[in-house]
């Protein structure tokens, strides 16, 4: 079975919002209709986004570090939003595990958004239907696109390659390897939703250097060392044992 997913590397995400804008650009231009932008140039601008980059400060000043955190639908393997939908508009595809909303069936009751602990779903203020990340289902299978462009718009646009896309059920895929080898984790695992999207943690490259590595204690080339080195010893030496 296939489970397509994103793996987001927090170690290299710089919080540039390129994924946010390219996601909006692609998905607002599609046949499913635009994603509303209310008051774009006035007070309280608001609109529908499938993907947002949030920023968090970890630690207490001055020992702080900033984590940029892109958040979109995690395409859970046990999606809690699907069974609660009264119309069947919310569904998980058997063939690739993408969780989708059928905009023609959605009645806009918002019940699925209550049942998502991640806040991944947003009601479009104009179309009055629930919207969320589709993993660019209209890109990744499009044979009119060159093969290397059959990727979600956010993955295409990421300048630091912080976003990987692939099948997490295929153990040899890049995403599976990244999860396995770089400690990929899921968000809020305590709810048992089994999110398909994974995050890779911040990783620090550290080198521990001890004092004796900077300065050799027994430097045979030092003047002092040479003296003691060449002084006759009380203990038996190699020369007592062997004959050359």
């Amino acid at each position: 079975m296939t489970q397509l997913a994103l793996v987001i590397d927090l170690n290299v995400c710089v919080g540039c919002h390129a994924c946010v804008t390219s996601c909006k650009e692609w998905n607002t231009s599609g046949p499913a209709g635009s994603m509303v932008d209310k008051n774009p140039y006035k007070e309280d601008p608001t609109g529908t986004f499938f993907n947002r980059v949030q920023s968090f400060e970890i630690g207490t000043y001055p020992q702080t570090e900033t984590v940029h955190f892109p958040k979109s639908c995690l395409h859970c393997e046990e999606p809690p939003c699907v069974p609660v939908c009264p119309t069947g508009a919310s569904y998980k595809r058997e063939e690739d595990g993408i969780v989708l909303v059928d905009y023609d069936k959605c009645i806009g009751c918002k019940y699925c958004s209550w049942a998502c602990p991640y806040g991944a779903r947003e009601l479009d203020e104009k179309q009055k239907v629930m919207k969320k990340c589709t993993l660019c289902v209209d890109r990744i299978y499009d044979e009119d696109l060159p093969e290397k462009e059959r990727l979600p718009a956010c993955v295409m646009s990421c300048p630091t390659s912080a976003r990987l896309f692939g099948d997490i059920h295929d153990e040899n895929s890049d995403v599976s390897k990244a999860i396995r080898e770089d400690a990929g984790y899921q968000l809020m695992p305590e709810w048992g939703t089994k999110p398909a999207n994974h995050y890779l943690p911040r990783r620090k490259v550290k080198m521990t250097i001890h004092k004796d590595e900077l300065e050799r204690v027994d430097n045979p080339l030092s003047k002092e060392e040479r003296k003691t080195h060449n002084a006759p010893s009380d203990s038996p030496s190699l020369e007592d044992m062997t004959t050359w």
């Binding site: 609660v84 009264p86 069947g88 806009g108």
Partner: protein
């Protein structure tokens, strides 16, 4: 959560309608099984059924305002196998239909016994339709409560107390309406219903306070660490990805100060339980219909406050991601 008035009116009104029907049928059973002096005033059952169905119809009407696409509402009966909301969408018209038939059977006087029970009790069409309605009414109580009770992320709601409270508060308000109606129509049932209404109001009060106590002790299952997966006790949001708010900041936050929410709690405890209780007890000794009608009105205001608080009290884990605009 953000309290939506469409849902507040839906749940309180259908609860009262369901409770009113249960009151009518309780009266009929007591009378038919000769547990109290027999009632022959079918008018009371007819008008009572009309009011019960009317309350539920207004509630149903209010619920449409919750939908983005009310014209597609018929689709929501599709997934009854998995969704409590879908089950409610089926159970609500079913209960309304069954209660309508029950009222119609009284109106057309289908009271000729169909058969006689071994004990000598005569069973007629109204009794059978009443039983069927009772089944649909309880099904509806369970469906409505489970819509909220089944969402495990909202820990304040994820408890059997949600279903129990929806049922008890519906019955308390419904029996209060029955008390007011019978006082207004001057049937002999006023005291009978007042006693039941007092009983259910006390029970509803006890269980509502129990859920308040339970919710006060809740430890949130998720915190910032599990939300973004960084194991540090001190995580502060700097930006949430939008400058002017989003669906996430509107749907899951009530936007009121803590004091306002706390006051709402005291208001509903007084208006939904204590004042109606006093009025109902008072009405036992008085014959005026004004007192039970006032009890119904005040209790309904209290229940609106209660439902508002019910929503505002629930803290959604997604709020962890939306603590700071920028």
């Amino acid at each position: 959560m953000h309290p939506a008035f469409s849902v507040i009116f839906l749940t309180t009104l259908i609860g009262a309608g369901q409770g009113l029907f249960l009151a009518l049928f309780t009266g009929q059973i007591f009378s038919q099984f000769k547990l109290m002096p027999e009632q022959h005033d079918s008018n009371f059952y007819v008008i009572g059924s009309i009011i019960a169905v009317g309350l539920m119809a207004i509630g149903l009407f209010a619920s449409f305002f919750h939908l983005g696409h009310p014209e597609r509402a018929w689709r929501s009966a599709a997934k009854w196998k998995t969704s409590w909301l879908s089950r409610e969408v089926i159970a609500l018209p079913a209960a309304m239909g069954a209660i309508s038939l029950y009222g119609a059977a009284h109106y057309f006087g289908f009271t000729t016994p169909l058969f006689t029970m071994p004990g000598g009790t005569e069973i007629d069409a109204t009794l059978l339709l009443g039983l069927a309605s009772t089944f649909t009414v309880y099904t509806l109580f369970i469906c409505t409560g489970m819509i909220y009770g089944c969402i495990k992320f909202l820990q304040e709601w994820h408890s059997p107390l949600t279903v129990i409270n929806f049922t008890l508060m519906g019955m308390a308000s419904g029996f209060a309406v029955a008390t007011a109606l019978s006082a207004y129509m001057q049937t002999d049932l006023t005291k009978f219903y007042a006693v039941w209404a007092i009983l259910f109001t006390v029970l509803a009060f006890v269980f509502r306070v129990l859920s308040l106590v339970r919710n006060k002790k809740i430890k949130p299952k998720s915190d910032m660490r599990s939300a973004i997966g960084v194991n540090h006790p001190n995580i502060r949001q700097m930006a949430q990805g939008s400058m002017g708010g989003s669906f996430n900041t509107r749907e899951y936050f009530h936007g009121k100060k803590a004091g306002f929410v706390r006051n709402m709690k005291y208001i509903f405890l007084v208006l939904a339980f204590i004042v109606p209780l006093a009025l109902l007890v008072f009405s036992l000794g008085a014959s005026s219909w004004v007192i039970p009608v006032a009890a119904v009105g005040i209790q309904y205001l209290g229940l609106i406050a209660e439902r508002w608080y019910f929503f505002a009290d629930a803290n959604h884990p997604q709020n962890l991601y939306y603590q700071q605009i920028s």
